[in-house]
C-alpha cells in the first residue's frame, strides 16, 4: 500500500529525514516511535502533503501512485488521513458543515452521489458513538474551545466518517488521560479492517497497549534504526531509547 524509499526531507535547509525506508501493506498496523526531535512528525507531515517541507530525494509510492505528485486534497480523496497532533481551531465553521463538505467532495471525486441530509445525520450519529463524542460538540465551531481530549476524539471521529485506507495518527495520545486513550484506541481498533492500514506515531508505548502494532520502527535522528514486532515497544518502555542509541553508535 505504502512504499517509502530513501526519503530525505529538509525544512529551511535543515535535513530532518535522512534516508527513510518503509514498506506498509494493507491490514497492518505500524508504530513509529522515537525520542523528541527524531523526525516523527515531519514524516507524518510529508505524507499528508504539508507544503513547507522540501523533499530532497526519495520516492513515496501509495497504491501505485507517486504521492509527492498529489496535493493534500488529492491524497485525502485517495484515502490518506492524518490525525493531527495539534488539531486546528476554525471559528465559524461547524464540524457538521465541514464534514458534510469534505465527505461530499470525496464522494463526488469517486463518482458517487452526495449524501442526503438524513443519511448524513444517521452516519454521523453512528460514528459519534464509536468515539463517545458529545453530540453538542459537532454543531459548535470546529475544535474551538474543545478540550485536548475532545479535539483528539474529534480527529478519530472524522477518520471514522471519511473511512481512509491509510490513517496516520500523529501523537494522538499526547495530552490524553488513560480513559481518553482507551476511547480513542477503541475507535481506531473498530475501524481496522484487512483493507486499511494505520500508522501510529507516538513517543510513549502506552497507546500501543490498546492499539496492538504488527511492526514497531524506531526513528532516531532522521533514520529508522531498529524495527521489530510489538515486543520492541515493551522493551523501549522498560529501557528507554538510550540502549538503541548506544547500539546504533557501536554499529
Amino acid at each position: 500500500m505504502l512504499s517509502i524509499k530513501n526519503l530525505r526531507v529538509s525544512i529551511e535547509g535543515n535535513e530532518i529525514l535522512k534516508g527513510i525506508n518503509l514498506e506498509v501493506k494493507a491490514g497492518e498496523v505500524h508504530a513509529i516511535m522515537g525520542p523528541n526531535g527524531s523526525g516523527k512528525s515531519t514524516l507524518a507531515s510529508v505524507l499528508s502533503g504539508r507544503e513547507e517541507y522540501e523533499v530532497n530525494s526519495g520516492v513515496i509510492e501509495y497504491m501505485g501512485q507517486d504521492l509527492m505528485e498529489m496535493n493534500p486534497e488529492e491524497r485525502a480523496r485517495a484515502g490518506v488521513f492524518l490525525a493531527f497532533q495539534y488539531p486546528v481551531e476554525i471559528p465559524g465553521v461547524s464540524t457538521t458543515n465541514f464534514l458534510k463538505t469534505a465527505l461530499n467532495q470525496m464522494r463526488e471525486h469517486r463518482g458517487e452521489e452526495r449524501l442526503d441530509a438524513v443519511s448524513f445525520l444517521t452516519l454521523m450519529k453512528e460514528k459519534m458513538k464509536l468515539v463517545e463524542l458529545d453530540p453538542t460538540l459537532i454543531s459548535r465551531s470546529l475544535n474551538e474551545g474543545f478540550s485536548g481530549g475532545e479535539k483528539k476524539r474529534n480527529e478519530i471521529f472524522q477518520m471514522a466518517m471519511l473511512e481512509p485506507k491509510l490513517a496516520i495518527l500523529d501523537e494522538t495520545d499526547s495530552g490524553l488521560d488513560i480513559d481518553a486513550i482507551k476511547i480513542v484506541a477503541n475507535g481506531v481498533n473498530k475501524l481496522k479492517s484487512p483493507n486499511n492500514t494505520t500508522i501510529v506515531i507516538t513517543h510513549y508505548q502506552r497507546l500501543l497497549n490498546y492499539i496492538i502494532p504488527d511492526f514497531v520502527h524506531v526513528l532516531m535522528n532522521g533514520k529508522f534504526v531498529k524495527s521489530g514486532g510489538k515486543e520492541l515497544a515493551y522493551k523501549l518502555e522498560e529501557l528507554g531509547y538510550d540502549w538503541i542509541k548506544e547500539e546504533h553508535i557501536l554499529a
Binding site: 496535493n71 486534497e73 488521513f81 493531527f84 476554525i90 471559528p91 465553521v93 469534505a102
Partner: protein, 437 residues
C-alpha cells in the same frame, strides 16, 4: 483645482436657483444657501484633509466627470428597471429613478399603508413646516463638504414618517436606480426618516446604476427617531464598476432608542460611507455592523463616529473586511464619550483579511473619552488567511478554493448572521458565491 470646482458648483447652484422660482421663498432654501456658502468657503475635501487623505474622492470626480454637464432626462424602460430590483423580500419597495420617487413602479405593503411616504420635493413644498423641523438637524460637527453639497442642492429623494407606537414586521426597501445609459449622472439624493415614539421598523437601501457611463450619487440620510424607537437600517452596496458613491448617514438618538446600521459593500469604483450617530439620550443602544468584501480596484472607505453625549448608553461596532486583487479598504472609527456620558459602554472592533499582495487596508480606531466611569474597548486586526486552517480543510479532501471560501464565509458570518431581513441572506450569499467562483 479646488477653486475651479467651486466655480463650477457656483454656476450649477445659480442654474438650480433659477429653476426653483417661487420655491426660493420656502424656509428650506435658506438652509440650502447656508450650505452652499459653507461649501464655497471650505471647498470639497482634498487629500490634504485628514479625513479624506486615503480617499481622493474630489480628485476622482474632477478627473472622471464633466462637472458642468447637466443630467439627461432619464430614458430607462420599466423592464430595465425591473431587472435591477432586489426581489424575494416580503415588504414595500420604493423605487427611485435618478433620485426621483417613482410611485408607479413602487409597491407598498398592506402593513405600511399608514406610513407617510413623500417625494422629497413635494414634502419641501407641501409640508414645509414639518420638513423644516426635521431637515438637516443632525448635521455632523465635522462639516463634511459632500454633505454641504447635498444640502445645497436638496431636491430629490424621500421623506418617510412613521407614527408613534407602531411595530412593523416587514422592511421598507429603497431602491435607487441611476440612469447612466446615455451619459454620466451626478445626483444628490436625500433620505429623511422620522420615527415616532416607541415604533419599530427596518429599512433596506440599495443603489443600482444602469449603463456604463460614470455615475456619482452623493447621498445624505437622516434618521431622526423619537424616544424608545427601534430602527434597523441596512445598506447593500453592490453597484457597478463605474459608480462612485458617497453617503453621509446621520442618526440622532433620544432616550431608550435603539438603532442598528448594517453596511455591506461588495463593489463600485469608489465608495465612501460616513456614519455619524449622536447618542443624545440615556438607555440607548447603537449597533454598527459593516462588511466590505471587495476585489478588482474597488476602493471602500468607512468612516464612523459615535458621539456619546448622555450617560448609560451602549454602542457596539463591528466592521470586517476582505480585500482581494488591488482593492483598497479604509476604516476609521471614532468614539467620543463626553464628560456627561458616564456609565457608557462602547465597543469597537475591526478585522481585515488581505488576500493578495496588492490589496491594502488603512485602519484607524480612535477613542476620545472625557468621562471617567466608562467601559470602552477597541481592537483592530489585519492579516492573511491562516495557512494551517487551509491545510487542515484540504487534508480532509476539500479543494483549496473551497477551503478558502469556507474560511472567508466563516469570517463574514459574524456580520451575515446579524442581518435582520432573513430573505436578504440569499441575495448576499449569491454575491458571495459569485465572488468565490
Amino acid at each position: 483645482m479646488a477653486n475651479k470646482l467651486n466655480e463650477i458648483i457656483a454656476s450649477q447652484f445659480q442654474l438650480f436657483e433659477n429653476r426653483l422660482n417661487g420655491e426660493k421663498q420656502l424656509p428650506v432654501h435658506k438652509l440650502r444657501k447656508d450650505a452652499f456658502e459653507a461649501l464655497q468657503y471650505n471647498g470639497l475635501p482634498d487629500n490634504k484633509n485628514e479625513e479624506y487623505k486615503f480617499t481622493r474622492l474630489t480628485t476622482l470626480l474632477e478627473r472622471s466627470f464633466n462637472l458642468s454637464m447637466q443630467n439627461a432626462t432619464q430614458s430607462l424602460t420599466k423592464k430595465q428597471i425591473d431587472s435591477e430590483l432586489i426581489k424575494d423580500i416580503d415588504g414595500s419597495f420604493l423605487v427611485f429613478i435618478n433620485g426621483e420617487y417613482s410611485k408607479d413602479i413602487s409597491t407598498i405593503a398592506e402593513e405600511h399603508q399608514n406610513i407617510s411616504i413623500q417625494n422629497l420635493s413635494d414634502a419641501i413644498k407641501n409640508d414645509s413646516e414639518c420638513f423644516e423641523h426635521y431637515f438637516n438637524k443632525t448635521k455632523s460637527y465635522e462639516n463634511d463638504g459632500f454633505l454641504s453639497w447635498n444640502t445645497a442642492f436638496t431636491e430629490t429623494g424621500v421623506k418617510i414618517s412613521v407614527e408613534s407606537n407602531k411595530t412593523y414586521e416587514k422592511p421598507i426597501v429603497l431602491i435607487f436606480i441611476t440612469d447612466a445609459a446615455e451619459q454620466q449622472f451626478m445626483g444628490n439624493p436625500r433620505i429623511l426618516i422620522q420615527i415616532g415614539e416607541n415604533s419599530e421598523i427596518t429599512f433596506l437601501e440599495n443603489f443600482k446604476t444602469i449603463g456604463d457611463n460614470p455615475s456619482f450619487n452623493n447621498l445624505a440620510l437622516e434618521i431622526i427617531s423619537e424616544k424608545a424607537s427601534r430602527v434597523k437600517y441596512i445598506k447593500v452596496q453592490d453597484d457597478g464598476g463605474n459608480t462612485v458613491h458617497m453617503s453621509n448617514s446621520m442618526v440622532y438618538q433620544p432616550d431608550a432608542s435603539n438603532i442598528s446600521i448594517f453596511t455591506f459593500t461588495f463593489s463600485g469604483r469608489m465608495v465612501r460611507n460616513n456614519l455619524n450617530i449622536v447618542v443624545d439620550g440615556e438607555g440607548c443602544e447603537a449597533n454598527m455592523y459593516g462588511l466590505y468584501w471587495i476585489n478588482g480596484t474597488t476602493h471602500v472607505d468607512n468612516h464612523t463616529v459615535v458621539d456619546h453625549r448622555k450617560p448609560n448608553s451602549i454602542s457596539n461596532e463591528l466592521y470586517k473586511g476582505i480585500m482581494n486583487d488591488e482593492s483598497r479598504g479604509v476604516f476609521n472609527g471614532k468614539i467620543y464619550v463626553r464628560q456627561l456620558a458616564q456609565k457608557t459602554n462602547a465597543f469597537q472592533s475591526n478585522n481585515n483579511i488581505l488576500l493578495s499582495n496588492d490589496a491594502t487596508i488603512n485602519a484607524k480606531p480612535q477613542l476620545e473619552i472625557w468621562a471617567d466611569d466608562v467601559k470602552c474597548s477597541h481592537g483592530c486586526t489585519t492579516g492573511q488567511l491562516d495557512d494551517e486552517q487551509v491545510f487542515y480543510l484540504r487534508s480532509r479532501g476539500i479543494d483549496k478554493d473551497r477551503a478558502i471560501g469556507i474560511l472567508l464565509q466563516a469570517f463574514a458570518n459574524d456580520i451575515f448572521d446579524k442581518t435582520p431581513v432573513k430573505e436578504l441572506r440569499g441575495y448576499l450569499e449569491e454575491i458571495v458565491m459569485d465572488r468565490l467562483n
